[in-house]
């Protein structure tokens, strides 16, 4: 049975995340691994730093004190983690998911997700973590790191949640978006009477061929609306298309440039995630 790895924390996205995951689980008949990752004690800053000022006796006393501080905080974190997981479990159960595995771990989020990635069909994350400012235009730093490091489809939840009826494929002809199309045509996820849109945005000299994709989608039983548009800013073109056509889910290939490249040019994918207020399904 397929597994979905759902990474939740105490942020406002947790509820939406569970709702989206429950929908996907029902579509493809999957079980859910509900994951919460605690920070390590070393990720917190020490309350004081007296390095160099201490003799041995003071140092061991201080170590004991610091350990006690960490211990208390660790217990609180554990309690909080348990509450978050129980809350998520309740939502999933209510939505009708049958099998839920609770995974409570400690460490770096990226490493933990990599550890469980292999057994998962799809990974779910919120746009921002609990510590990020909600009004901010920037993405959560964890999301960016996870998106770059994993190899499975990544479902990114936004602050709005609504039933998914129309989806849009942002098409650039590259390998990752081809993978997305393979997934859509082969897997049952989006096949139950959903409306399919495909938008190809051509920058100055691009020439994106859509006829082949159109044929593949048609063969798979999708009645899709295909549109090709000229615009130097693909992210703007796509987000206005989403708003105009009331798209509920955006599907795209992720980060096809190397990291250095995207640093210099600004990644279209990252700005898409920022600009669109709807859930995204990213393919590597």
């Amino acid at each position: 049975m397929a597994k979905l790895l759902v990474c939740i924390d105490g942020s406002a996205y947790a509820d939406n995340l569970c709702a989206n995951a429950a929908w996907v689980a029902k579509q493809i008949n999957a079980e859910i691994d509900l994951l919460h990752v605690l920070r390590r004690p070393s990720d917190y800053q020490a309350p004081t730093d007296h390095t160099g000022l201490m003799d041995f006796e003071v140092r061991s006393n201080l170590l004991e004190e610091l350990t006690k501080v960490d211990e208390k905080r660790g217990r609180l974190d554990q309690e909080k983690g348990k509450i978050i997981l129980e809350h998520g479990e309740k939502i999933l159960q209510k939505a009708g998911v049958e099998t839920i595995n609770i995974i409570h771990r400690r460490g770096s989020l990226v490493e933990t997700i990599q550890e469980f990635e292999d057994s998962a069909e799809m990974i779910f994350m919120g746009k921002r973590g609990e510590h990020a400012n909600k009004g901010s235009l920037f993405l959560g730093s964890n999301l960016e790191k996870v998106a770059r490091s994993i190899h499975k489809p990544l479902f990114i939840t936004s602050s709005v949640v609504r039933p998914i009826k129309r989806f849009l494929i942002a098409y650039d002809g590259k390998d990752s978006v081809r993978k997305a199309i393979d997934y859509i045509t082969e897997q049952p996820l989006l096949k139950k009477g959903l409306e399919c849109h495909l938008l190809a945005v051509e920058r100055a000299k691009d020439n994106i061929q859509t006829s082949e994709v159109e044929q593949i989608l048609r063969q798979a039983g999708f009645t899709s609306r295909i549109k090709t548009e000229q615009n130097p800013h693909p992210d703007q073109a796509i987000s206005s298309y989403v708003v105009e056509n009331k798209i509920d889910l955006l599907i795209t290939g992720a980060y096809s440039h190397s990291r250095m490249h995207s640093l210099l040019l600004g990644s279209t994918t990252a700005s898409l995630v920022k600009a669109c207020k709807i859930p995204l399904l990213l393919f590597r």
Binding site: L38, R40, P41, L63, T67, D70, E71, K72, R73, G74, R75, L76, D77, Q78, G81, I102, H104, R105, R106, G107, T112
Partner: protein, 496 residues
């Protein structure tokens, strides 16, 4: 007391008179070529090696810890003193010999002989192989600029050594080889270097002399390092030989007495103008194989050697170097443990590595003691690594998923402490962790430190930790320090 010492004399001296005397004579004959050849390796007159050989044999007969073992000037010791003789001369060598003896007596009183058990079999094999290689290499300069006659005579000598034992059993074949080669050289008047060309031979009994050197700190600074190496090499080879003789005769020996005995023999040898020596593996085996068992065989070997030299000195002078080179090549071939090649395939890789390391270090540094030191060190490290694998940690999660129990089996010490710490899953979030160490052993402070770190790490994450069986596990560390758990703890208490 009297009857006891009579019994001792009877057992060690008079138990085997006829065989001891015969074996002693054979050994004396076999000692001559080697004593001369080893003197030449060391770069001193042949008489220095010969004086050493008979004074050591005579003294060790009384003070040694292993009856039937032969001690004399040896190749291993000669190799150590080469540079000393080259740079400072004979008098410094005699002083070094005396100091070596003093150090060996000290080692005997400090019971360093018992340390021999830390020298593994692989190190001993490496030592023996390296010794063989060094002895062989020391013969090569003799061939420098030599003509066809030299090569021919050496080949003839070797042929006699290896073929004659098939026909003649009673006389050592190296002696036959030397006599034959010498006779041929004299008869055909071949122009080859002889022992007489190498230096002076003894014409009188050795005389007691103090070494003619300045007695100050500078002298000590020169001779002390050599003495230390000679002490280590001498004791090592003597104790190894003692073990071999123990095995051959199926009787025990007193290793610490042998240490002190070697020391006394070297002190006497030094005062009578002899170089430092130690037990000889080859000659001791010849002695045992010829029937020698008691101290009388060793004594008689020394006395007969003295007699031979005083009577036959003029003949010994005529021996060509080619004959001695042949004998030395035989010694090196006989010393080398050829089975160690075959064993490379079957023995554990670490043992072979220790053996090869010992050989390589000796051949590079020309220092047998350094080789043994490195060999012992590597074998100790390999042993620590092997033992560190004797650690297993099992864990299981309670049914409600809130408590994990770790059970530690095996040895935790400096080499396995890292593996111990890595066996715990700090990424898993559980409320309680139990670490059961009751069947584990914590050998040192690294182990306790590692456990401490594990406990603190769990605690910092807010996990409650329970330790089980810490007293049993750390008993190995505290048993020397702690009083409370000993049976007579009540009597011990008032002393504090």
């Amino acid at each position: 007391m009297l009857s006891l010492s009579l019994l001792y004399v009877k057992r060690n001296w008079l138990g085997n008179i006829r065989n001891d005397i015969l074996a002693g004579m054979v050994v004396a004959l076999a000692l001559i070529p080697e004593a001369i050849a080893f003197s030449i390796i060391a770069g001193v007159d042949p008489k220095v090696g010969l004086y050493a050989s008979f004074s050591m044999a005579i003294i060790i007969a009384f003070v040694g810890g292993r009856s039937g073992m032969i001690s004399a000037a040896t190749g291993a010791m000669a190799l150590v003193m080469v540079t000393l003789v080259k740079e400072y001369g004979l008098e410094y060598l005699l002083a070094t010999t005396i100091l070596t003896g003093i150090l060996q007596v000290l080692a005997g009183f400090l019971r360093l002989g018992s340390l021999m058990r830390f020298v593994s079999r692989s190190v001993v094999t490496g030592f023996v192989n390296a010794l063989a290689i060094l002895i062989f290499m020391a013969q090569l300069p003799e061939f420098n600029g030599a003509g066809i006659q030299m090569y021919g005579m050496v080949a003839l000598g070797l042929a006699i050594i290896y073929i004659f034992p098939r026909f003649i059993k009673g006389i050592p074949s190296p002696l036959i080889s030397i006599i034959t080669v010498t006779a041929i050289c004299m008869f055909f008047e071949l122009d080859l270097r002889t022992v007489g060309d190498m230096g002076e031979l003894p014409s009188t009994l050795p005389i007691f002399l103090l070494p003619d050197i300045p007695f100050n700190l500078d002298t000590l600074r020169i001779i002390f390092p050599y003495s230390l190496t000679l002490m280590a090499v001498g004791l090592l080879e003597s104790l190894m030989t003692a073990t071999i003789v123990d095995d051959l005769t199926d009787t025990p020996s007193n290793k610490n007495r042998e240490c002190a005995g070697q020391g006394i023999a070297n002190i006497v040898s030094g005062f009578f103008g002899g170089m430092a020596g130690c037990a000889m593996i080859g000659q001791s085996v010849i002695n045992i194989k010829s029937g020698g068992r008691g101290r009388l065989s060793t004594l008689f070997a020394g006395l007969f050697l003295l007699f031979l030299l005083l009577v036959l000195g003029d003949w010994v002078r005529q021996i060509p170097m080619a004959a001695l080179v042949a004998v030395m090549i035989m010694v090196s071939i006989g010393t080398f443990s050829w089975s160690s090649f075959k064993n490379l395939r079957t023995h554990p890789k670490t043992s072979s590595l220790v053996m090869i390391t010992t050989v390589i270090v000796v051949v590079i540094t020309h220092d047998l003691a350094m080789g043994v030191f490195v060999g012992v060190l590597t074998s100790a490290l390999f042993f620590a690594r092997k033992v560190s694998r004797l650690l297993k940690i099992e864990s299981h999660l309670s049914d409600n998923g809130e408590e994990r129990t770790y059970k530690v089996y095996g040895q935790v010490f400096f080499a396995s402490a890292g593996m111990f710490s890595d066996s715990f899953d700090f990424k898993e979030v559980v409320q309680q962790v139990t670490i059961d160490v009751s069947v584990a052993h914590f050998w040192d402070l690294s182990a306790v430190g590692a456990l401490d770190k594990v406990v603190i790490k769990f605690r910092r994450e807010g996990t409650t930790v329970h330790l089980l069986g810490m007293n049993e596990a750390s008993a190995t560390i505290v048993d020397r320090l702690a009083v409370y758990d000993k049976p007579n703890s009540l009597e011990l208490m008032p002393k504090h």
